[in-house]
Symmetry: C2
Subunit: 216 residues, 2 copies
């Protein structure tokens, strides 16, 4: 039988997407507090920094096991660690970028991702002028080398930022090469190229639609 | 009394965020079909291209007024236009970027946004080396000029991609300068700097948390 400590889970809870987004926000704020050397944070302050109500914050965290101590607040480091465990952020993940463009370059140079344990270990492109270059300390391989490199470098997550075409073809190649999941940040949604692959569409421009909807 | 045509709304429906995200996806796929010269699309194909079930698609669209004709499918142009109207995408919006970094540069050069009617008309920075430069046809002003430029160029949406600091200060300045909404794509969530301003946090790295959660 697996032993559990207070605030940890024997089994990962199944959380709805909106809750996951909030937890991901909490983690980002806790990481900053932690960098600033804070040891404790009261729920009111944490809620304010996260842009949610104190009631929402307490509900989310108590549902996850109740990390706080009444009248004292939350231990920053401990809460950060617990939330990261839930989100699968307590380990290192190897990423590969398939297809280089401005957004891809922004991702490769984004220190947040490496701080988060998400490390680009390879990039792939089909254009001669990119192949063999080193961009933000990441080597750009030919797409033809994808199968070998993905296996060799233990890449689990493929990242797409390009348009269709060639987005769909890149997704298919990543899938064949053996990644477990694909994050599509490109302009158009894609379907998972095969059963068992997780494909998540997260168009960078989508939040703009929600804003213009709210404004009009 | 306001007249309505079939499939249009006298009053904008209040839609939940998940539905809005799906509509935004539908629009992107319809735009592509439209560019490719397609006039009709059957719900099964549209659903497949959008990564949703045909039942979900039909439900979303029938809830919005039922655009399809049984056995024929949807008229691409007409459905695209209707969905854009709902999302507030049937007009031009002026945007300003406050603070320049890699992600900001990627946004300025993203032709999708201008195709969407979202046009960056100004950028602002506090660093001497950026002020006065023209980046992707957008002029970089000093932060001190923000009030004047936002009013003069009729900027409604401010866009943030920078870290805190100076993210919070930039949000406050944008708000004071008179933007109606702020999209924060930076690493940390922010609160709306004052009542009546819409602030939306949409950290680019958040989708990674949802993936690592699903994978672990």
């Amino acid at each position: 039988m697996r032993k559990t400590s207070p605030g940890s889970f024997p089994v990962k809870p199944r959380l709805p997407e909106v809750t996951l987004y909030r937890l991901a926000f909490y983690v980002r704020v806790l990481e900053r507090l932690s960098r600033e050397g804070r040891e404790l944070v009261r729920s009111e302050e944490l809620a304010r920094l996260c842009g949610v109500s104190p009631a929402q914050l307490r509900k989310d965290l108590s549902y996850l096991g109740g990390f706080g101590v009444r009248g004292v607040g939350y231990q920053v480091k401990s809460l950060e660690r617990q939330l990261k465990r839930i989100l699968g952020r307590d380990r290192l993940w190897h990423l590969a970028l398939a297809g280089i463009n401005d957004l891809g370059l922004a991702l490769l140079s984004d220190r947040r991702l490496s701080r988060m344990g998400l490390r680009f270990v390879a990039a792939f492109d089909w254009r001669e002028e990119w192949i063999g270059r080193i961009v933000q300390e990441v080597y750009v391989y030919s797409v033809d080398q994808m199968s070998y490199i993905v296996r060799e470098s233990e890449v689990e997550i493929g990242v797409l930022t390009v348009e269709e075409p060639p987005a769909r073809e890149m997704a298919r190649r990543l899938s064949e090469a053996g990644v477990r999941a694909i994050l599509n940040l490109g302009p158009e949604p894609l379907e998972a190229p095969e059963e068992g692959i997780i494909l998540r569409n997260a168009d960078l421009t989508l939040p703009f639609d929600l804003l213009t909807y709210a404004l009009s």
